[in-house]
């Protein structure tokens, strides 16, 4: 059953990174659209993301519940030491969520739209940056575990510098650009003509930025001896996965050019899977790296009965949710992933 729980943990992490990420990314794409194109982008986002965006973000809650039920020691560490960035993430999620709904459900359309729009765009950018920074803090090696003795440490030493440094900032920006890349690639398939060209261009820019940032991140980690990056680079499987994901850019670009939306979406998704896999594989299950030691995800597991129970609940929940979610995606904006996408495949 532990494997079922682990599967759902990674599965919801992946879906949050992919779907939640595409969702954040949509706001970033809108932010970086020219004044002329902002309205088009806004309407496309509403059409494509509208029905599913809320569901996309529930993966975060599922992820959180799995963590606290099955991995309480690990959860305890991240909740204490990442308190500050999490407050910022929550602030971002709140602002973004309400801005999205306000701008589409306000009965009167007037100047307040301007405010909702900017709130939506800015929080779409800031939230993934802080999420990335939180993850960066876990692997950055700067967290100090005090072992219940908090005297002799300042507030900043314990709760600020571990997540607020140049390494975590790079990770944060990297994740935000990844989100934008995902969103742009997704939106290409939902549009026609001129707008489509615009999203293709956006997708290209974000891809280039992403690759560059990836190199900078690895170089930085290597030069400043970030343990996680060093282990990552020297792990053949991880580095292989990253190289493979880089190579996949070629078919991805060809798919975009040939307007194969199904292919491009799957390829973009696969790339993220590979990057995530590479990042986790090198260190699994030691996902918190502190100044002195590494904390394993599997440390202090609760009794078998708890894992057993959670596994069953997840299987039941998954059995109810996944078909519903699939049906939702099929019925609305993402129809094309499966339906006309298949047709396009045949046409090609």
């Amino acid at each position: 059953m532990l494997y079922v729980v682990l599967f759902f943990l990674l599965f919801s992490l992946l879906l949050y990174v992919l779907l939640g990420g595409a969702d954040f990314g949509a706001g970033i794409v809108e932010l970086f659209s020219s004044r002329k194109n902002k309205l088009t982008t806004r309407n496309t986002i509403y059409r494509v993301m509208g029905p599913v965006w809320e569901a996309n973000h529930i993966w975060l809650i599922i992820l959180l519940v799995i963590l606290w039920v099955a991995f309480p020691v690990y959860f305890n560490v991240i909740m204490i030491y990442l308190h500050v960035p999490f407050v910022l993430v929550l602030l971002g999620i709140t602002m973004r969520g309400v801005a999205f709904i306000f701008r589409h459900y306000d009965a009167i359309v007037d100047r307040s739209q301007l405010f909702y729009n900017w709130m939506f765009r800015i929080s779409s950018l800031v939230t993934p940056v802080f999420l990335g920074m939180s993850f960066g803090a876990l692997i950055g090696g700067k967290i100090i575990l005090t072992e219940d003795d908090y005297t002799g440490f300042t507030f900043s030493e314990l709760y600020l510098w571990p997540w607020f440094n140049s390494f975590t900032f790079l990770v944060g920006i990297f994740y935000a650009v990844l989100c934008a890349f995902l969103a742009a690639t997704l939106l290409i398939g939902e549009t026609q003509g001129k707008v489509r060209k615009m999203f293709s261009k956006k997708s290209a820019y974000f891809t280039i930025t992403l690759v560059l940032l990836g190199f900078i991140l690895i170089a930085y980690g290597y030069i400043y001896e970030v343990k996680f990056i060093k282990d990552f680079v020297s792990n053949p499987v991880s580095i292989g996965a990253v190289i493979l994901s880089g190579l996949l850019l070629i078919p991805l670009w060809r798919a975009i050019k040939r307007q194969n939306t199904l292919g491009s979406r799957y390829l973009a998704g696969l790339q993220v899977v590979l990057v995530l896999f590479a990042a986790l594989y090198a260190h699994f299950p030691y996902i918190i790296i502190t100044a002195e030691k590494e904390v394993s995800l599997l440390e202090g597991l609760p009794p078998q009965a708890v894992i057993q129970n959670l596994g069953i609940m997840l299987l039941i929940g998954g059995g109810v949710i996944l078909p519903g979610l699939f049906h939702l995606m099929r019925s609305f904006g993402m129809i094309k992933i499966f339906k006309s996408g298949e047709k396009e495949f045949e046409n090609n």
């Binding site: 606290w68 709140t94 306000d106 949710i321 979610l325 609305f332």
Partner: protein, 433 residues
């Protein structure tokens, strides 16, 4: 004030905020679905207009509830890391089921909001039902976790460790049923009177009274029935608390001296220092009877418990009085509504509508007061009898900043949502029949 106090204030404030949105998100879909059904049956366009207007309300409240709920699930860990470290695995079952129910709700909402003219009519309507059912289910499930804090079961406590964990037993803890019943009814009463009150105001101001009367009738019937059942559920809760948490009962009633044939205090000013209640109305034997069904039953007073385990008596007592007072008032208002069905003349009276306008916020005040009773009444414990709140709090200093930040952000949100609702109604009223 210390870090602990600010952490508690923040939790109270964010929970109190979330509860309002969660209740509306739970109950309002049912109004929407009834109106939708009436549209399908009668094809009277007024019902379609009403359904679409309510749907916007549901969307706005659902999202605000969802984001504040996400914040809460983080806050459990961020504010009370030690509590979650031990309790998280034990009460995982209701939370994982609640996560699933909430997910179903979000999926159904996606179908409903975007399904107009795209989905088959009946299926579309049915997804509305799913929103309501899964919303109520998540509410009921999440109350189980709170029930466990009041009635911790499903483990053995040996040498300061929680061992032999049985998640199912923890899930089915003895406080769950009474609490969930009371809360679900409360959500229905509060939302129903609030929505009905908003529409009553429009009738009072003579703005499209035809439409708003229809809306009022759909909303109020839920609340009138639930308000009638609520005292019965409250009685179950009181008897349950008398048995399991005698200290909480004593605080609710500001009852200090153990005795038999104990009177019930109505009102009164609590003097915590001298452990006395002044200016009260006492009904002889009533507390003994309400708690144990026997006028001569013994009810333990606060003086029988160690003083460092007393909850803040005054707050709990006042909150309890407010909750019961409002509950009684709303029950009477429900009866008035049923009377007006027979004596239709009442619908033409201005005071009738004004009355329901005045009652609109009371249900939610009672909900908040009720949560104050159960949460403050459990203090100083976070897990009743096993872990104190002070042992659970985060070691991170500076909680006051976090509290003030949430205060500002949520206050702005509350104002904005209210303003948005007013705009919805303005647009609704602007459309001429």
């Amino acid at each position: 004030m210390e870090n602990l106090d600010f952490a508690r204030l923040q939790m109270a404030f964010t929970l109190g905020f979330h509860i309002i949105f969660a209740c509306i998100g739970m109950v309002m879909p049912f109004f929407m679905v009834v109106s939708h059904k009436k549209w399908l049956n009668t094809r009277n366009p007024v019902y379609l207009e009403l359904t679409k207007s309510w749907q916007k309300g549901v969307a706005i409240f659902f999202v605000t509830g969802a984001v504040s709920g996400t914040a809460l699930s983080f806050e459990l860990g961020m504010l009370w890391p030690e509590f979650m470290k031990h309790a998280g695995p034990i009460i995982g079952m209701p939370f994982s089921l609640e996560g699933a129910a909430f997910f179903v709700e979000a999926i159904a909402l996606g179908f409903y909001l975007y399904g107009w003219n795209k989905l088959p009519e009946k299926f579309h309507w049915f997804t509305g039902i799913i929103i309501g059912i899964s919303g109520v289910a998540s509410g009921i499930l999440v109350v189980s976790a709170n029930g466990w804090m009041n009635a911790p079961t499903g483990f053995d406590y040996i040498d300061g460790q929680f061992v032999n964990i049985d998640p199912v037993q923890a899930f089915l803890n003895p406080a769950w049923f009474t609490q969930a019943l009371h809360m679900t009814l409360a959500a229905v009463v509060a939302t129903s009177f609030a929505v009905a009150g908003v529409h009553a105001l429009q009738v009072y101001r003579n703005k499209r009274p035809d439409l708003h009367k229809k809306a009022f009738k759909i909303a109020i019937i839920f609340g009138a029935v639930a308000a009638f059942l609520q005292p019965l559920s409250g009685d179950l809760s009181a008897k349950d608390i008398a048995e399991r948490q005698p200290m909480k009962l004593a605080a609710m009633e500001a009852h200090y001296e153990t005795g038999t044939n104990v009177p019930l205090y109505i009102g009164g000013i609590v003097d915590e220092e001298n452990q006395k209640v002044t200016h009260k109305i006492a009904i002889p034997g009533a507390l003994s009877f309400l708690a144990f069904g026997d006028f001569d039953a013994e009810v333990k007073g606060l003086k029988d418990f160690p003083e460092d385990e007393h909850p803040p008596v005054a707050i709990v007592h006042y909150a309890f009085q407010i909750m019961v007072g409002i509950g009684t008032l709303l029950m009477l208002a429900g009866i008035l509504y049923f009377l007006s069905l027979k004596y239709k003349k009442l619908f033409n009276k201005k005071w009738y509508w004004l009355l329901f306008v005045v009652l609109a916020p009371l249900g939610f005040i009672a909900v908040e007061a009720g949560w104050v009773v159960t949460e403050v009444g459990r203090q100083p414990w976070i897990i009743y009898g096993f872990m104190k709140t002070s042992e659970a709090v985060t070691p991170m200093p500076g909680m006051e900043f976090s509290f003030y930040m949430y205060l500002v952000v949520y206050a702005v949100l509350a104002v904005t949502v209210t303003w948005l609702m007013r705009r919805q109604i303005r647009v609704l009223n602007a459309v001429k029949e």
